[in-house]
């Protein structure tokens, strides 16, 4: 396997204007940079006429402590001068500390507008739950095994080890060298379950794929019935 992106790196969490939540870096206790695109809560029109202060809330699980803070604007600057839906946009930032023992973060945001109304960014009341794939999963094998001469297809093999609390694992894979082939979701099978962790493998000893297939994939896994995604920090995983 290729090295996983940003293993051991200080964590960073980004909330983009197109409503994606990106977890980057590793689960390292200590400072975590939070980046938030204000256009998630403020329209560009409002940004041009009003000042806004966006507050972030973080609850650390399972330790239970909370943090909240105002997302920083550069001194004295109205948001309107910075928000820009074109180009590279602008991120408000804050830094909080991830406590020892934390493995999941629950986040939500509020913004009070000039009319006194408070708007929330909370995944429709459920809050945003984030975990670190680097801490939860280890990719033991992700490999396209070449077919024997007599076989028509190669085989895509997976082996993933996880923390015990992971309830299910599925891979969403597509063939990069056959881009019109639709993405396929394959649940992995738990083939080992010990107090130290679980092992997940592809069903039936492997997934048939065309000869010469090149496979890119991400992993979706569930903890407490909530889905989390590990997409190799936005770069995708590429099978060997």
């Amino acid at each position: 396997m290729q090295l996983r992106q940003n293993a051991g790196a200080r964590p960073q969490i980004t909330f983009t204007s197109d409503f994606h939540e990106l977890v980057q870096g590793d689960l390292v206790p200590g400072p975590c940079l939070l980046r938030y695109d204000p256009l998630r809560l403020v329209s560009l029109g409002d940004a041009a006429t009003e000042e806004h202060h966006i507050r972030a809330y973080v609850r650390f699980h399972p330790v239970g402590v909370e943090w909240q803070g105002l997302l920083e604007l550069p001194a004295g600057l109205p948001l309107a001068e910075l928000a820009d839906v074109t180009g590279q946009g602008f991120m408000l930032t804050a830094t909080f500390d991830i406590p020892e023992g934390c493995d999941a973060l629950e986040l939500w945001f509020s913004c009070t507008h000039d009319d006194g109304q408070t708007h929330w960014d909370s995944d429709l009341g459920k809050n945003h739950w984030l975990r670190f794939g680097l801490a939860d999963l280890k990719l033991k094998t992700a490999k396209v095994k070449p077919a024997k001469k007599t076989e028509a297809q190669d085989t895509l093999a997976f082996e993933v080890s996880t923390k015990p609390k992971i309830e299910s694992v599925e891979v969403r894979w597509h063939l990069t060298n056959s881009p019109k082939t639709p993405r396929i979701i394959t649940p992995l099978v738990c083939t080992g379950d010990t107090p130290a962790g679980k092992t997940w493998t592809a069903p039936d000893g492997g997934i048939p794929v065309p000869k010469g297939a090149v496979v890119a994939f991400d992993i979706v896994y569930n903890v407490d019935s909530r889905p989390y995604t590990d997409d190799n920090q936005g770069r995708w995983h590429i099978a060997d």
Binding site: D18, G25, D84, T86, I238
Partner: protein, 954 residues
């Protein structure tokens, strides 16, 4: 940890506050064997030292390493190439008029050094022209690396240069600055106060810490003749300048340069006028050979020419619209899945054939080369395919390791990445493994490693990787982008800092023995100490590489960043501008100050790269096509017009967010109003070329601020410097006063009228481009309120000017032979060598001028004799004559001929009057005619004499 070397805002670098040490009393001093270098020891146990070395009659270097025991035996600069600023024959003497003073005399200046305590003053002919701020001067904090030099700012002095800086003021008095190469998208980066293009405190892409001072009317302690000085801080870490800006302290009457790390390595230059300073500074940091002539043509680039059809459509549309254009610049769209140095046969099938075809219709091709080697194993087809150029760099061990400051060696390579924005669905091509999200948008990014350009062998290997593009594909020039290098801001803090390398990332720096030029040691230092030099090493690598691969032709690089000395390798565009009137307004001061920082070729992305306040409406993608986001037509027209007079003339935009920005794509009258000035650019091409040649000899920029050509005229500072900020010269005699504000599309509309100033000491003619007779000359010192519709840029020509024009071409070299029309304006005589116009001619594209001396320099003189009537005489004398231009003849235009000449002679032989332009054009012998409607006598002379005199008698 990157936080060990934080970015420091200008008001947090505080050498004017207490807590800094001065040199204090000198314990001992001594000259070296050359008699030009004087070393001073001081401090505890006399452990500290600095030296002052005379480099020429009006230049010295002051170098101070703020650690005990400094030896000063090696050099590491990427900026400086020649410290001989006139050493030959120089007689440096020194004396001690008293125990506290050392005087170093060069014959032109006296450097007076105080010994108890240390200070420096400079006198010229007994007049004080430069001094340390009393009680300050050289500043440092023992045990740290911070250094600064504090100077007195004479009360009447103005300050210029400082490289690429935002702001609409040409003068940089009362501002504070920092130099840290930064990917400052739309100039909205870190700043004191509100960011934006009007704020000069922001770091930009190019860092040149040279400060040029001009005091036209010295007073007080500096009383005497006008003088100019220059102070260059050669330090590639983050540096600072403060010119009497009271942002954190009282800086009245003072200025400083300083840095966070490295040596205090300063160079001082003195002169009477600013050109004296530029000559010395560009000798020190180097000048380039003549660029290819097409560099001064019009160029078009876009992020969004993502396949051959888009590219060919742009090319063919330019030709169909008859808007001249030379360069086509294709962004990273050209690459195979963001693999630097590659091209995509998927998007640009038969690329070589395509380029060959485009070459046939005059286009020169360029593409973006960013210093990243992607680690994505997939090519554009989604296959795990070899990446030849990347593999070569890896095999050469050329990439930076992830070793951090004081953290031990890391066996892994540093991995950063680039962010190329978002594909909103307009670009149908794959970038595996990237996939569109559920909104159909694909963030375009690539992870990658970065070469360690501080190493000679890495630069060599990097240069070799252009082989396919240059020798097989047919690429003509290089667009060097992301030079900081720009790293994806979305990466975690350990992978990027301020959108570039983490400050603690260790990189190589070579130490050179100054006597042998050989590398004697290699240091590994954190990026914080080397940051601004990364781009110079990158440009050096590219320059050497493409010259080795295409040694017969003249190569060209246009770069998005640089450090002092970058002009040896590349021109500069000023980064990611936005479509706004503010960006149009800063264009002139920015380019003019770059010219006064040694960079002759620079310009802004015409029309704005990104969307801005001058963009009309939102952008959406409909049916796979970007719709909207078009730059306001008035802003665009004015920008195309201004750009036509600036050295680098490229329209460049983000086609993922803008529907179009090419002039031909607008409705009329935009194409017509733009075409007029693109055409003027091409007919004036020789003037830009001559001005560029002058730069190669003197360091005088192509585009010059008013005061540079008119140093005695106080009127240029009038109207609160409005004229200084908004007017300039092309060369010596062509004055431009562009329209820089919204008028016809303003709400409510206002009159497109501006004030312009015609400098005193000359008379001026409104430029008519030989389309109408000259109007009466306007006396210099006059302010004119000028009404300029969208089809007009106010332009004036100095009386007595000699300006060579040429026939219109759709691209440089379209006409096999393009005769000059040497326009001679009525006015004061130019009959001495110093007054004559210097005409430089070569083939414009090969290295023959540089390597074989195949060029011609001619001097063109004119005078008016008034004995027995009036005779206008024009003399053309070849000074260097190793090149024959293709055109067998040229024309002389004697403007202001309000009556026909009764006789025109050449070297005493009377020429025939053929009576009309067609007959003149077809004449096979020297001849002339008078154009009554233009009041111009046109003389056709064959290019067959080394020195010839044409006389027109009236």
């Amino acid at each position: 940890m990157s936080t060990s070397f934080p970015f420091v805002y200008p008001d947090q670098f505080t050498p004017n506050n207490p807590g800094w040490s001065t040199v204090g009393n000198i314990a001992s001093w001594s000259p070296d064997a050359t008699g030009r270098r004087f070393t001073f020891t001081f401090g505890q146990n006399n452990a500290y030292s600095l030296y002052i070395e005379v480099l020429g009659a009006t230049a010295y270097r002051l170098r101070f390493t703020p650690v005990p025991g400094a030896t000063y035996t090696t050099e590491t600069s990427t900026a400086v190439v020649d410290r001989d600023l006139g050493i030959s024959g120089l007689n440096v003497t020194s004396s001690q008029p008293n125990a506290q003073t050392l005087q170093i005399n060069t014959g032109a200046i006296t450097i007076q050094v105080g010994l108890a305590p240390f200070y420096v003053q400079v006198y010229r002919n007994g007049q004080l022209i430069h001094q340390d701020a009393p009680g300050q001067g050289v500043l440092y904090i023992p045990g740290q690396q911070v250094i600064a030099i504090m100077k007195t700012a004479p009360s009447g002095a103005s300050y210029y240069g400082l490289g690429e800086k935002a702001g609409q003021d040409l003068q940089k008095n009362q501002f504070t600055f920092t130099f840290f190469n930064f990917d400052n998208f739309t100039y909205n980066g870190p700043s004191e106060g509100q960011p934006g293009p009007l704020n000069p405190t922001e770091p930009l892409y190019c860092s040149i810490p040279v400060l040029v001072e001009y005091d036209p009317t010295p007073s007080g302690a500096f009383s005497g003749s006008a003088f100019a000085t220059g102070l260059f801080l050669d330090n590639c870490g983050q540096t600072f300048a403060n010119v009497s800006a009271n942002d954190y302290s009282n800086m009245d009457g003072k200025y400083y340069l300083g840095g966070l790390y490295n040596e205090l390595d300063t160079y001082f230059f003195a002169g009477s006028v600013v050109p004296d300073i530029l000559r010395q500074y560009t000798t020190l940091t180097g000048r380039a050979p003549m660029p290819p002539r097409y560099a001064f043509g019009f160029h078009q680039g876009a992020y969004g020419y993502f396949d051959r059809y888009k590219l060919a459509a742009a090319a063919n549309s330019y030709r169909a619209a008859r808007i001249p254009c030379d360069g086509l610049h294709i962004d990273v769209d050209f690459q195979d899945n963001y693999r630097t140095f590659t091209h995509s046969e998927m998007k640009f099938p038969n690329t070589k054939e395509l380029f060959d075809d485009l070459h046939l219709i005059g286009f020169k091709m360029s593409t973006n080369i960013t210093p990243i080697i992607t680690t994505n194993v997939l090519n554009q087809a989604g296959e795990k395919a070899p990446y030849v150029q990347g593999d070569a760099l890896k095999a050469a061990n050329a990439l930076i390791y992830n070793t951090r400051y004081e953290s031990g060696e890391d066996p892994n390579l540093y991995q950063g990445g680039v962010n190329y924005g978002v594909n909103y669905g307009n670009n149908p091509y794959p970038y595996p493994p990237l996939q569109p999200n559920n909104q159909g948008q694909t963030p375009l990014t690539a992870p990658g490693n970065y070469p360690d350009f501080g190493l000679t062998n890495v630069r060599e290997v990097w240069g070799q990787q252009y082989q396919d593009l240059i020798q097989n594909v047919g690429l003509d020039m290089i667009w060097q982008d992301m030079t900081c290098p720009a790293i994806d801001a979305n990466l975690p803090p350990s992978q990027q800092y301020f959108k570039t390398f983490p400050q603690d990332l260790m990189m190589a720096q070579e130490e050179v023995d100054p006597t042998t030029g050989k590398v004697v040691a290699t240091n590994y230092l954190p990026n914080a100490q080397l940051h601004n030099s990364y781009v110079n090493n990158l440009l050096h690598a590219t320059w050497d590489g493409i010259n080795a691969l295409a040694p017969q032709r003249r190569n060209f690089i246009i770069a998005r960043g640089g450090y002092a000395g970058m002009q040896r390798y590349a021109g500069l565009w000023t980064g990611d501008s936005a479509s706004s009137w503010d960006f149009l307004n800063i264009n002139i001061p920015e380019v003019l100050n770059l010219g006064m920082s040694g960079v002759p070729i620079s310009g802004c992305d015409i029309g704005g790269f990104a969307k801005g306040s001058g963009s009309v409406g939102g952008t959406s993608v409909i049916g796979g096509t970007v719709v909207g986001g078009i730059t306001n037509y008035e802003l665009f027209t004015r920008w195309m017009q201004l750009g036509s007079f600036l050295p680098w003339y490229r329209n460049h935009y983000d086609g993922y967010n803008k529907q179009f920005q090419e002039a031909f794509a607008y409705g009329e009258p935009v194409p017509t109003n733009c075409r007029t000035y693109v055409e003027l650019r091409y007919t004036m091409m020789q003037i830009y070329y001559d001005a560029m040649f002058e730069w190669t000899q003197t360091g005088l920029p192509i585009c010059r601020p008013l005061f540079l050509n008119e140093p005695q005229d106080q009127g240029v500072y009038g109207n609160s410097n409005y004229y200084l900020d908004s007017q300039f010269f092309v060369g010596g005699d062509f004055l431009v006063a562009p329209m820089l504000f919204q008028a016809v599309t303003a709400s409510p509309p206002i009159s497109p009228t501006r004030d312009l100033y015609l400098p005193a000491g000359s008379n001026w003619y409104a430029f008519q481009n030989n389309q109408a007779p000259l109007l009466g000359a306007v006396q210099g010192g006059t302010v004119i309120s000028y009404y300029a519709d969208l089809n007009l840029v106010p332009t004036y020509v100095r009386a007595g000017a000699i300006l060579p024009f040429q026939h219109l071409e759709q691209w440089v070299g379209e006409l096999p032979a393009n005769p000059l029309t040497i326009n001679c304006y009525p006015g004061p005589d130019r009959w001495t060598d110093g007054q004559a116009y210097q005409l430089y001619q070569d083939d414009g594209i090969t290295q023959n001028a540089e390597t074989k001396g195949e060029y011609r320099i001619s001097r063109i003189y004119q005078q008016t004799l008034t004995n027995n009537g009036t005779t206008r005489q024009v003399r053309i004398a070849r000074v260097t004559d190793n090149y024959t231009p293709p055109s067998p003849f040229n024309y002389i235009g004697i403007l202001g001929s309000i009556t026909s000449a009764y006789q025109v002679t050449r070297d005493g032989t009377t020429l025939p009057n053929v009576g009309d332009p067609d007959s003149l054009e077809s004449s096979t012998v020297d001849a002339w005619y008078w154009n009554q409607s233009l009041n111009i006598v046109f003389v056709k002379i064959f290019d067959n004499r080394t020195d010839t005199l044409v006389s027109a008698s009236y």
